[in-house]
Symmetry: C2
Subunit: 204 residues, 2 copies
C-alpha cells in the first residue's frame, strides 16, 4: 500500500492520526497540491475527482476519500476500534463524525478556501464575506460541541473515536489557516482539546 499525502492539508492529517492511533505504517508519497499536483492528468487517472488522501492498494487499485480509507483500515486493523464495534455503535460514531465534519470541518474549510490567499491559485475566485460567515458558523458550532461535551470524555462518548480526529484536525487547521479562535469560555472544548492534542497521535 502507499498513501498520497501532503503535510499541511487537513484530510491527509485525519488519516495520519487514525493510522498512528492504530500503529499502522504505510509509505507516504508527498503530493504538492498547492502547486496543482492533485489536478494533473496523471493524478486524475488515479483519482478522477482529484485531491488527497488517496490510498494505492497492492492490487494497483485506488481508494479515495479520507473516511472511506479509514473504514478500510479499520477492517484490516480492528483494534483499537475507532469507528464502532457493531452497527449501533457505528451509527452513533458516524453521527458524531458527520457533525464534526459537516458543521465544523466543512465551515472551516470554506472559510479557508474563501479567505486565505495561499489557496487562491488552486481554487480561483474567492468570496471573503462568505468565508467570514463560514468562520462565524464554525465558532457557533464550537459552542454547541462545548455543551455536548458536558459529562462526556470524548465527542462520541467514553472513548476516543474518529469523531475526535475530525474535530481536532478541523480546529488545528482553522487556527493555523482560517483565523479560528478557541474561546476560553468554552471550558469543555478546552478540556477535550488539551486531552486529544496531547495524545502521541496528534503529532502525526
Amino acid at each position: 500500500m502507499k498513501l498520497y499525502d501532503f503535510p499541511g492539508a487537513p484530510n491527509p492529517r485525519r488519516l495520519r492520526i487514525f493510522m498512528a492511533e492504530k500503529g499502522i505504517k504505510v509509505p507516504l508519497e508527498q503530493l504538492e497540491i498547492l502547486k496543482g499536483a492533485g489536478r494533473t492528468p496523471e493524478f486524475l487517472k488515479k483519482n478522477p475527482f482529484g485531491g488527497i488522501p488517496l490510498l494505492e492498494l497492492d492490487d494497483g487499485s485506488y481508494l479515495a476519500e479520507s473516511v472511506a480509507i479509514c473504514r478500510y483500515l479499520e477492517g484490516l486493523h480492528p483494534e483499537p476500534n475507532l469507528m464502532g464495534k457493531d452497527f449501533r455503535e457505528q451509527a452513533l460514531i458516524e453521527m458524531w463524525q458527520r457533525r464534526a465534519e459537516l458543521s465544523l470541518f466543512g465551515s472551516i474549510g470554506r472559510a479557508f478556501q474563501n479567505t486565505n490567499p495561499i489557496i487562491a491559485p488552486v481554487i480561483g475566485q474567492q468570496f471573503p464575506e462568505y468565508g467570514a460567515k463560514q468562520l462565524a458558523t464554525a465558532q457557533q458550532t464550537l459552542a454547541v460541541f462545548d455543551a455536548q461535551l458536558k459529562g462526556k470524555e470524548f465527542i462520541a462518548g467514553p472513548r476516543y473515536t474518529i469523531a475526535d480526529i475530525t474535530a481536532l484536525v478541523a480546529i488545528e487547521f482553522g487556527k493555523q489557516n482560517a483565523g479560528l479562535q478557541l474561546d476560553p469560555a468554552l471550558k469543555e472544548i478546552a478540556r477535550w482539546h488539551q486531552a486529544v492534542s496531547s495524545r502521541p497521535s496528534a503529532k502525526a
Copy 2:
C-alpha cells in the same frame, strides 16, 4: 421508531428512498423547517445541531445525520444491501457515496442556499455569486461522474447502493431548486438517471 421528515428537503428524501428500497416503514412526523421548526429550543433538545432527518428510537434516544441513520437501518435490515457486505465493499461504496455527497450534493446545496429566496429566511445573508460558482462546480462534477459511469451500471459498481441515492436526490433537488440542468451530451448520466429515477423507491 419515528422519523422527523419534510417533503421538500433533500436529506430526509435520501432516507425515504433508502427505506423504500429495503421495505422499511417508519412513522413520519413532518417538521416545517422552512418556518424554522428545525431550530426551535424544543427541537434542539432532540437534535442540538438542528436539522432533519432525525430518528427517534424506541428507547427515547435520537439518531441524527442521514447516512448515520442509514447505517443503523442497514444493520437492522441488512437486505437488500445498500452500504456494503464486508469492510472492503463498505469502504468502496463509502468512497462513492462521499464523492456524490461532497462533490455533487454539497455544491448543489450551497448553490440552493445562496441563490434560492425560499431559504433566505432560514439561512440569513445569501451570496449569489458564490452560489453560481457552486452550481458551475456541480455541473462539472456531473461530467466526471459521466466518465466514471462508462461500463458500470450504477455509481459504485454493478448494483444499486446508497451512492446512487445521494446522487439522484442531489440532481433532482438541484433541478427543482438550484437551476441545475442535465446536459444531454452526458449520455451515461442520462442512462443512469433514467434507470434510478424509474425505480419505485424514487417516488418516496
